[in-house]
């Protein structure tokens, strides 16, 4: 038999340790579960004793029913009492698991909130959702079943031994010797299973990724008449997965076979030895039948533990990415405690100038993107960022929103350093229209007013929609603002989604607007509506436009041409055209292409 390498075992121990530490947050219900299980075990011993008395009196002593009535009544009482205890124990175990899952999810969500948009941009949302929903579910059985069973698998057999030894020490010895063999074999086999189990998880992930790819490309496959070929590939991948699964199961079955074998042989040995001792008159039948009745119960907790073993495997397989997420370091926080607020700033007196002062920035592990970047966004003006993709336009917006932190230099909001401002307060001053707006599952009203104003919500909502040229199409919908939209904005066109995002910005009415132009060009009518809405939004606000296409930036106060993190040109549209540099070339290329 080969063993998994020590590193893998160490890793598993670490995961086990982590899971146990998590479980200690629900210590009380778990302890109660174990306590109830233990009491139930003691009552079971009593029940076996009563049954042994009954059988002894009637089968050996040939006494009538009346003489054992007391035992019978006692047994019925125990049945009912044990049923109640058993039920409560199972319920408590569930509540422990449920509470753990709820707490863990709350922590994961809080972590996501803490890591913030700078981090979430690079995440695969579907993958994270699986991690948080299904991964956490997979921990449930480990906590609510496996852990209590671990303790009961010690408590109950020991309790039974305490009663078996006085009754018949040979049987006690048989049980005491076979029992430790069970965990021993399980550990030996378990190491092997673990490695295979990890392989199987990988194979499952591979299968999922492959299937997803094929499903996403189904129309393309159809265009090349290749779907038949690929279906056979699906069959092959599924078959590989089956074989991996069976490999794990064969070992798991083997381990449970060893367990069952030891249990069965233990019972058989007890029965045979007790039989012979009875024949030779070395013990009393009462003790003999008592021991025989206890023997299966002795192995039962160990067998149950064996059947919970895959609960442990599932948990160990799922817990890795959860720990990884919880241990992801939040972006470096400024040393200064950010409690300063931009008090007194409002629309009426306008926002102060925004100054990027010798800002350096590099993504962790990447080359520096910005080095000594200087840029001023004068209050109440419109600045456009242009340049090839990868030049840092989007990153600059992220820095301004505080989702990313400069590695050096400062971003000034008037006299304040952005780093010294409380995040929440700063965010209250920003409206952002992203390139691909997210629509959340909910009504259009909820999507426009993500944080409804306590007063004048209805009016603000309508005005915002009107200003964003969204009111017309919303009112044409049968349910109007109550229309439910969701996942990737089903039922709305790209232009409509864009206008919902604009309405969000109008509704928020913030003094700074960051506008990420949609990358796909819209149809001319949508484009016109959006352009006029943007012009309206820009009035009396400081605006930063991240321009992917050069639609309507001619009227901007300032145009910044970024290339690989460096500003190579800045000025107004006519100035830059006159200069006949990079911007002019870009503009001409676009002119040529424009409708």
């Amino acid at each position: 038999m080969r063993f998994s390498p020590p590193t893998a075992q160490k890793h598993t121990r670490r995961l086990d340790h982590w899971l146990r530490a998590e479980a200690s947050t629900v210590r009380n219900p778990l302890r109660a579960t174990v306590a109830f299980g233990g009491i139930n075990g003691f009552l079971l011993i009593a029940q076996c004793w009563l049954l042994a008395q009954t059988l002894n009196a009637t089968a050996i002593g040939h006494q009538p029913l009346e003489s054992v009535r007391g035992y019978m009544v006692g047994m019925v009482g125990l049945f009912l009492l044990r049923a109640a205890i058993n039920y409560v124990g199972q319920r408590l175990a569930f509540e422990a698991g449920a509470r753990l899952r709820t707490n863990l999810r709350a922590r994961l969500f809080a972590k996501i909130d803490e890591l913030g948009p700078g981090w979430s941009r690079n995440q695969r949302s579907g993958d994270l959702a699986t991690r948080i929903v299904d991964g956490v579910e997979a921990l449930d059985k480990y906590v609510s079943l496996y852990l209590p069973q671990m303790q009961l698998a010690v408590i109950i057999p020991v309790a039974i031994l305490v009663f078996v030894f006085p009754a018949d020490w040979v049987s006690g010895l048989i049980l005491a010797i076979t029992a430790p063999l069970i965990p021993l074999f399980m550990i030996l086999i378990g190491g092997q299973t673990e490695k295979l189990n990890r392989q199987q998880w990988r194979s499952l992930a591979r299968m999922s990724a492959h299937f997803f790819d094929l499903i996403e490309g189904l129309t393309t496959l159809k265009l090349f008449n290749a779907a038949g070929r690929e279906a056979r590939l699906v069959g092959r991948i599924a078959e590989d997965y089956r074989q991996e699964t069976m490999k794990v199961l064969r070992i798991a079955f083997l381990s449970s076979m060893v367990l069952e074998f030891l249990a069965a042989i233990g019972i058989a040995m007890v029965a045979v030895y007790v039989g012979f001792r009875l024949m030779y008159g070395e013990m009393h039948f009462l003790n003999g039948i008592f021991v025989l009745l206890l023997a299966p119960e002795f192995y039962l907790p160990l067998r149950s533990l064996g059947s919970q073993f895959h609960a442990r495997m599932d948990a160990l397989g799922a817990v890795d990415p959860i720990i990884e997420l919880l241990q992801t370091d939040a972006p470096p926080r400024p040393a200064i405690d950010s409690t300063t607020t931009l008090a007194g700033l409002s629309m009426s007196n306008g926002l102060s100038d925004i100054i990027f002062d010798t800002v350096d920035f590099a993504y962790p592990g990447g080359d520096p993107l910005f080095q000594k970047l200087d840029l001023t966004l004068p209050a109440g003006t419109v600045t456009a960022l242009v340049g090839p993709s990868g030049s840092g336009k989007t990153t600059l917006g992220q820095l301004l929103m505080g989702f990313l932190q400069p590695t050096d230099g400062r971003i000034g909001i008037g006299t304040h350093d952005l780093n010294t401002l409380a995040k929440k307060n700063w965010h209250a001053h920003i409206a952002w229209v992203p390139q691909n707006p997210t629509l959340f599952l909910g009504t259009l009203a909820e999507n426009i007013a993500l944080d409804p104003k306590p007063e004048g919500h209805e009016d603000a909502l309508r005005t915002a929609a009107k200003n964003a040229h969204a009111l017309d199409f919303i009112e044409q919908l049968p349910l109007g603002f109550d229309t439910v939209v969701g996942d990737r904005g089903q039922g709305l066109s790209g232009g409509e989604i864009q206008r919902i995002a604009l309405a969000r910005a109008f509704y928020k009415n913030a003094p700074l607007v960051i506008l990420d132009e949609p990358s796909a060009s819209l149809d001319p009518e949508s484009e016109r509506l959006i352009t006029t809405a943007i012009a309206r939004l820009a009035k009396n606000r400081t605006v930063l436009v991240i321009a992917h296409r050069l639609t309507s930036i001619e009227t901007c106060d300032q145009i910044i041409y970024l290339d690989q993190g460096r500003i190579i040109e800045r000025g107004s549209h006519p100035e830059l055209l006159e200069r006949n540099g990079a911007y002019a070339a870009l503009f001409r290329a676009y002119e040529q292409a424009a409708p």
């Binding site: 049923a83 796909a520 992917h548």
Partner: protein
């Protein structure tokens, strides 16, 4: 095959198991053997020690070799049987499920893209993966154990009948209560919460995904606390039905245990009377008592398995609902061979999507002579893409006809029509494999030289050759390792390899920056040279490739 009406999912699952029926029956027989071996082990043990005790007391001789050997034999039989049984049932079930995945994918293909457009890819993935996985419950935890329970109940009843009809009746009643009545009650009570559970889990998954996707918007516009509250509430919506199921599971198992206990107690009461009447001996009483206790192992696992049927059925339903959907385009009964001319003629074509009242194409007539290039421009929603959906037989026509080389596409199979057309669009998918494998999708037997020639014509070869692994470069999930312009030009190379007489360009330069757009347009120029081509775009640069430009608005052609 269509399944409708009551018990549709159950009937489907049974039909599916037909090829593996032998294996499943063997598994059930083994499971029965295991149950009986276990009952026999305890019963013989009880009889043995009592008889030995009486022998010791009375000093009579007894044949102890046979029962002692039987006890050991039964112990081994039980263990080995259990191992074999699990191996066989799991092997058969997983073979069935692996086949089912391929079958599901094959059924998905005719539905694409029309029937699948409203289903996100993640939903389909969870059907082919998680839903199919969860069907194992039906075979491993419901069908086989139920059959084994039935068989062993009959055999055990027969055995008890030999000793005492009264005991047989009590035992049978207990087993029926615990093995049929309680599981069915639990099943009924669990159906609703099982369904709610599946939905709640999907809802939480969706809410989590959108939170991550829209975290920036939530941070700037929303109220993070409120979001956390929503997520907490939806977590509780998931815990709620699970709690109900836990109550059912706990209640079911507790009641089953009570039924079993009262049953064997009843058997003992009866047995004591029989001993008194000297109808049975003391050892036989102990044997029958232990027999009664052990017999309930046959039904112990049934209530939780039946309770889980709600979830299993939901999974089966999700698979069936999709697979049973009719493909939206009916294939011709006697398909004609492919035409030899390739001019296109749209003749009063009308097409309507079920979700909208207005037709997407309203009696469109259009002729593209062979080798000519026609461009169609118009606002989004004007019906441009519907034109290709109609031509590629992705959507049926309400009326009118499309002819390729004079041959109506009604009489051509979808595969024939699509074999004649090469399509480059904004949504062309590159698979997460090597560049070479992606290209060979169009021509599986293409040589490397042919691939290189196509890449050169698509003006992307220099960039591909610059990758360390060249043609064998893996493109990554959703081609993330390539730039937008690169993947578009590789898609063009793939279309070139297909060498189809008709080319459809559906917004092929959408979402590209100005420099990439120029490169892609140049590559497209080479692709459409000498072929019949339809260009759909409102990008002026692309329109310069066309011999003729028409304009569409609201499903009609408005003159250029």
């Amino acid at each position: 095959m269509k399944y409708a009406g009551k018990y549709r999912e159950l009937r489907w699952l049974i039909v599916l198991s037909r090829p593996y029926l032998g294996w499943m029956l063997a598994g059930a027989l083994l499971a029965t053997g295991v149950l009986l071996a276990n009952v026999a082990l305890l019963a013989v043990s009880g009889w043995f020690i009592t008889a030995m005790a009486l022998a010791g007391l009375g000093g009579t001789a007894i044949n102890y070799f046979t029962p002692a050997a039987a006890i050991r034999g039964l112990a081994i039989l039980r263990t080995a049987g259990r191992y074999l049984e699990r191996l066989i049932t799991h092997e058969a079930t997983f073979k069935l499920l692996a086949g089912l995945r391929q079958w599901f994918f094959e059924h998905l293909e005719p539905l694409a893209p029309a029937r699948l457009q409203y289903l996100p890819g993640g939903d389909l993935l969870s059907r082919i993966r998680a839903d199919i996985d969860s069907l194992e419950n039906a075979y491993l935890r419901i069908f086989t154990p139920a059959l084994a329970a039935l068989l062993s109940t009959i055999l055990m009843g027969g055995f008890l009948l030999f000793w005492s009809p009264g005991m047989a009746v009590i035992n049978l009643a207990g087993l029926l209560l615990a093995g049929v009545f309680i599981p069915l009650i639990v099943l009924r009570a669990g159906l609703n919460s099982g369904q709610v559970l599946v939905q709640a889990r999907a809802a939480l998954r969706q809410r989590t995904a959108e939170t991550v996707r829209g975290l920036a918007e939530l941070t700037l516009f929303g109220n993070p606390q409120q979001r956390l509250d929503t997520l907490r509430r939806e977590n509780n919506d998931l815990i709620g039905p699970q709690r109900q199921q836990n109550r059912l599971d706990a209640g079911g198992s507790v009641i089953n245990t009570l039924i079993s206990q009262f049953t064997w107690l009843g058997m003992i009461v009866l047995g004591i009377g029989l001993v008194q009447a000297q109808r049975i001996t003391g050892p036989e009483l102990v044997m029958l008592a232990l027999f009664g206790m052990a017999s309930f192992e046959a039904v112990a696992i049934l209530p939780p398995a039946f309770r889980a049927w709600g979830e299993t059925r939901q999974s089966a339903r999700r698979i069936l609902d999709l697979v049973d959907a009719e493909p939206i385009v009916i294939e011709p009964i006697a398909p004609q061979p492919a035409p030899t001319r390739f001019d296109l003629c749209f003749d009063a074509v009308t097409l309507r999507y079920p979700s909208s009242a207005k037709p997407a194409l309203d009696a469109i007539s259009l002729v593209v002579p062979q080798g000519q290039i026609v461009a169609i421009r118009g606002a989004s929603g004007s019906g441009k893409t519907s034109l290709t959906n109609a031509l590629l037989k992705f959507w049926p026509l309400v009326s009118g006809d499309i002819r390729i080389g004079g041959q109506s596409i009604h009489d051509l199979s979808g595969n024939t029509v699509r074999g004649l057309c090469a399509v480059v669009s904004q949504h062309t998918h590159l698979f997460n494999t090597s560049i070479a494998a992606n290209l060979r999708l169009a021509r599986p037997d293409a040589t490397d030289d042919e691939l290189v020639a196509a890449l050169k014509a698509a003006a992307v070869y220099a960039e591909v050759a610059a990758f360390p692994r060249g043609l064998e470069t893996e493109v990554g999930e959703a081609a993330t390792r390539l730039s937008g312009g690169q993947s578009r030009r590789i898609a063009i190379a793939r279309a070139l390899l297909k060498d189809a007489p008709i080319v459809i360009l559906d917004e092929p330069t959408e979402g590209l920056d100005a420099a990439s757009e120029q490169a892609v347009t140049d590559a497209l120029r080479r692709l459409i040279a000498g072929r019949t081509a339809l260009i759909i775009s409102h990008r002026p640069k692309l329109l310069t490739l066309a011999n003729q430009i028409i304009r569409m608005d609201q499903g009609r052609i408005t003159l250029p």
